[in-house]
Each structure stands twice: as C-alpha cells, then as structure tokens.
Amino acid sequence: MAALPKRIIKETERLNKEAPDGITAEPHEDNLRYFDVTIKGPGGSPFEGGTFKLELFLPEDYPMAPPKVRFLTKIYHPNIDRLGRICLDILKDKWSPALQIRTVLLSIQALLSSPNPDDPLATDVAKHYKENEKEAIAQSQEWTRKYAVAG
C-alpha cells in the first residue's frame, strides 16, 4: 500500500481535532482510508434523536475521485436505499477535488434535514413521501426509533 497522501493525513487530523457538530469520523487502524462515521439526526427532522452509522472509503484516486459513502443503519429516506446507498450529486457527477470528507458528511447531514422525493433512489419511500407526507414522516420517525436509537 502506497504511503497516505498528505491531504488525507491533514483531513483526518482536522476531523479528529474539530469535528462538525453531530458528526464523528474515525479511520480504521489497519486501513487509514476506511472511516467509521456517525451522523446525528438533525433537530426538527424525522431523524431527530437517532444516531446513524455510516462507512466511508477513500479510493486510491481520491481526491480526484469522490469518497464512497454508505449508510449502515437502516433509514427510511427517499434518497437512501435499502442497501444504504446515498443519492447525492456531489458523490457522483458533481464531485470536485476541492470537496473534502468534512463537506461530504455535512451534505449528508443536510440531506437528512431535507429529503428530496423528486430525485428518489428508494422509489417506494419517495412515492410514500409524495402521496402521504405525514404518514411517511411518521414512518421515518418509527424507523429512527427502531434502528437508530441505542439501547
């Protein structure tokens, strides 16, 4: 394995020193490109009170290519599918090498605050959100209680 680029070392240091509110990201000891991430459900969203686990991987060509991120905790969200894959433009075609782990995680946190059923990944959830938003939100809250609250 090639030496870790300076940029990844710097990013890890800063995440460790001053993580954004409600977000943690720690690299695996045996693979410094693989991060265990948690994001707290934003206040006022159906995910409030939950702590969601994610995995983040920095590919060999990072930062030219975007990091790979996936939810590990089950979540009822129109832009996140059953496998935890996230529909977020900056993780795909809108990626820019000026973006960082920090900005990616903040964007995911923002996605929890504002689900976008018009650009769905989980079509059934998106349909639910469009047809009966109240009920869908209740469902999201239910899942949050069920899967994202410890103990």
Partner: protein
Amino acid sequence: MHFSKTYSQLLLTLPQELQDNAIEYRQATINLELQLKKLINKVVLELSSLGLSPAVLHDLLHSCEQGDINGKGKERQVGERPDDGGLVAQISEAGPSRQATKAVYEFVEDGGRIEPRLRLWVSTASIEDDAATASGSSVGAESDDDPRVAIFLDKPESKPPSPDSDNVRTEELLLVSKPVAQKGQSLVWSLQKKSGPIFGSGNAWDSLVGAADSDDSLETLAHPVELVRKQVPRPPVGSREIIIPLTSDTAFFQLLQGALQSLTVHLDTVKAGFIHNLQDLSTIISKTARPRSSVSHSFKPASSFSDPSSISAGHLMPKSLVHHSMDTKSDLYAWREIFQLYIDSEVFESLSERSRGERSLDETERRLSEFAERVSNRGLGDSRGLKLKESREALEKFLQLNLLILNLKKFQYANSEAARKILKKHAKRTALPIPSPFKRLDIPASTLSGFMGVIPDSSKAVVLAREKSYHDTLSLLPTTTASLPHILVQAIGETLIPIIPHIDDYSCLICTSIAFKPIRLTCGHLFCVRCLVKMQKRGQDHCPCCRAPSVLKANRANVDWALLNFMQDWFPVESEEKLRQNEREAAKEELEELGLGDSRCIIM
C-alpha cells in the same frame, strides 16, 4: 486602590522610556486612594449634617423603591418595619393619605462635570406641619420631634409656597425637567440600590432591554449605551420636591472620573510606546528573516524562465538557506517556526469556534510560558535556531512585548477591582447606592462611557446634539482601557506575523501542499501543476472551486510566473520538495501508463 503592587511589577517590564511616566503615575494613584477615602468621609459628614445619616437615607431610598414595586406609595404600612425608628414612620403619620417620602439618588451632567444629588419628595401635609412648628427658620437641629426632617426641609426653601410654583422654580434653578411632567419627557437617571421591576434586575443588560421596550426607539438608537435611563417615579400628588446637591459627593466622583481619565492618558502613552517598539521589532525581523533572493547571488526572483520545464528539482539551491554555506545569513525558517508556534499557542485569545475571545489571566500566563518553553525546547531561542545575533535579540524583545500585554491585563484587572472596591466603600459608608454603571467594571468600557449622568433636556434634537459631548465628558471609564490588551494583540498579529508569508496561503486546494508550480486557470483559481495534469488526464474540465470549464484548456501559458518566483524566494525548501515529489509521481504514472506499474520485479 490596591494596585500599587501589581503596578510595581508592571514597571519592571516597561521599556525604559515609559518608566518615568509610570512612576509618576504610580505616585498619583497612591495619593488618589487617600483622597478618595477622605472624600467618602466628607460625604458622610455632609449627609449627616443634612440629617441624612446612612440609616435614614437607606430608608428613604428604599421607600421609593417599595413605592415603585407596589405601584402606589401608600400601600406600605407603618408597622411593616419595626426597626424603622423615625422619619418614614413620622411622616406617614403626619401625611394622612399620601405619606410616602421618597428619595432618589441621581446624577446631573453640568458642563462635563458629574454632579450627584438627592431628589426628595415630601408630602406637603408634613411640610406644612413642620413649617408651622419650625416657622421657617433653622429650628431643625434642636427640634425634639424629628430633627432630621426639619433640617433638610429647611435647606432649599424656607417658606413652603404652593407646590406647583415651587416645582417650577426648582426646575429652573437646577436645569432639570419637571419630575411630574408627562410620560417620556423626563430623562433623569434613577439610580437604585436594588431594582424594582421597572428598573430591571440590576443587571445592566436587563435594564437595557427594559429601556428599549419602554422608550422611543429613536432615542434608544441614539443612546445605545444608556442603560438605566428612566423616568423619575411620579411623586405622590400633593407632595413637594426638594433637590439637594451633594458637594462632597460631587468632588468624589469628579476625582474618580479625573483619575480614570488620566488613566486613559497614561495607557495611551503605554500603547504608543508599545506600537513604537513593535515597529522597531518588525524592522529587525524583516532584516533577519530574509527571502532567498537577498541571501543568495545565484537566485534572482525577477528572472523569468521561458520554459517551465526548465525548473526542475536540484535547480533550486535552497541548501544555502538551511545550512551555513552562504554569503549572508537568514533566519527565515526559524522565524516561520516561531510564529507558527506562537499562533498555535493562542496565548491571549482563543480562536476556536466554541470558546472564542480573550482568555483569563491565569490561562494567558500559562500559555505564554508554554510558548516560551516550546521555542527554547526546539532550540529556536539560541544560536542553534537563530543564527543571527539580531534575531536572538528580537526574539527576546518579542517575548517582552507579550509579557507587557500580560501585565497590562493584570493592571487592568487590578484597576477595575480598585474602582469597584472604592465604590463599594462609598455605598457602604453613605448608604447611597452604587451607581449602576460602576457595578460591573469588567464590561467593555465603551458600554460604560454613556452611563453616567443625566440628559437635562428631553427634547430629541437636543439629545442628539448633545450626544457627542456627552460621551466625551461623561465617560468614567476610558473607552480604550477595557480592550487595550486586545488592541495590542491585534497589533502583533497585523505587524509581525505577516512579515513572513505563511505556507497555507500558497497551498493547492487539492493536494494541500504548496502549489508549486502554480497554474492560474482562466477563472482565476490557482492549483499546482501536478493536480491539474491529473485532472486533465481524467478529462475533468470543471474548476474544483467554481466549476467553470477551465481545466482542459490550461497549458504552459497559465503558469503564474510572479507567484512561482515568489514561492521560490520565500519557500525554497517546500518548493524543492514539492518539485521532487511531482517528478517522482509523474515518472511512476508514466510507467503505469506503459503497463509497467508498481515496483514489482519484472522477470523476463
């Protein structure tokens, strides 16, 4: 005041040219303390001669406040406070229904002088009673019934005329607005010992909120710092108003005000001296931390290479900077390290998002000594790090300036403590409440400056016109005092730190190391050549910063030569390192493109 000791310590750290001034100042403060104490005694005597002993005053001021709380003065019963012993009880009996005798301790501004005085309301019934018995002459002291009332009633006016005309005359005489005037007209400051609901909780900011609520918003804007401005409580109908100017008390506040003003002047001198020293230091550091162009004959930053590929690793010879083998020495890298340590230490102010602001005295002291320790641990304080004698002297001076700021912080703390104590003593001895502007001396002085005094006229135009002089003359705490350490810390940050360019300002956003060789895209954003080559190979055309399609059309014409020269000049080591790294990476990529990736041994 108790800061003589702290001040002596401060003296030791002051540059010689400031010391004379400082010694004078110290002598003055010792005298000041004595004088202020004497004046407090005089105030007590003066008040007692008016029949206003602390106990009586306390009751009077307190009764006013109670009246406020209850909304009506008459609700208080005579028997409520059994230890009352005298005046109030006396008067409540005398005045059949509106018995409240009230007093307010207030401040008037008169030509820039602060004049404290007492405003009393005595029910006319009791006045007439007393006047009848005393028949208008100074009978008071001998009056066995209630000497105190008699005396102070005797003072302003010997014969009690009709309440209305009396009010008018008093008003003309003392240039205050009529206390029974309409709502919103009277802008007298009422200073209360404890605050009733209308006065706020005694916390200045609460009062501000209160004032903002009740006052015309324009006025509030014009006087953002007036916290306790408020109408005088409406006196009970049928009462008479008496205003007693307090001569010794005026002297007390004038002395204190004068002292605080001379403190400003003194601190201005200290500040000027500091800035002067800082500029000297800046010159020395600039001379000792010189870029490569001024210490090496082989490098000319102005030279422009026609072909960027002509710049390769080894071409730069930065060794002369790190090692001794050069004509002129420079301590550029040592100074850069020292400043980095200094910034990281966040000695005086925290920069973190969670706890931004000035640090406490103890914390500052600890961090400053930690910084000094780190510098010497790394050998930056001696000839190992700093090769030039001038550099070592400059470092010493730099530490001294920091120590001076620390001592100023201490001095300032001692000052406000001393002022607070003398005011507390004043309040305790006289029963006159501490004027609220003094209650919290640690709040920014700019907030304090507007506190003291009265605006004699309620007319808005006058208020606005007066605003300026009002601030100039009535500032009891000079505006610069509270934030002087902050100003000096800023000065260091603005004068010294920028002497040496910081690597973070010249980094490539993508790889985070120095952007060498620097390429300026047509959209204006700058990246290192290596990162842009990678993007081009991947066919990524959008600028990482602004998404403008500017990456693919970039070529050698986009090299920022001025910056390239600047980087070689100020960051020779980093530039060289980056160049080597770029070359290694490019070679490896080339091999990979030929299908000969990695360092695996190829067996034919």
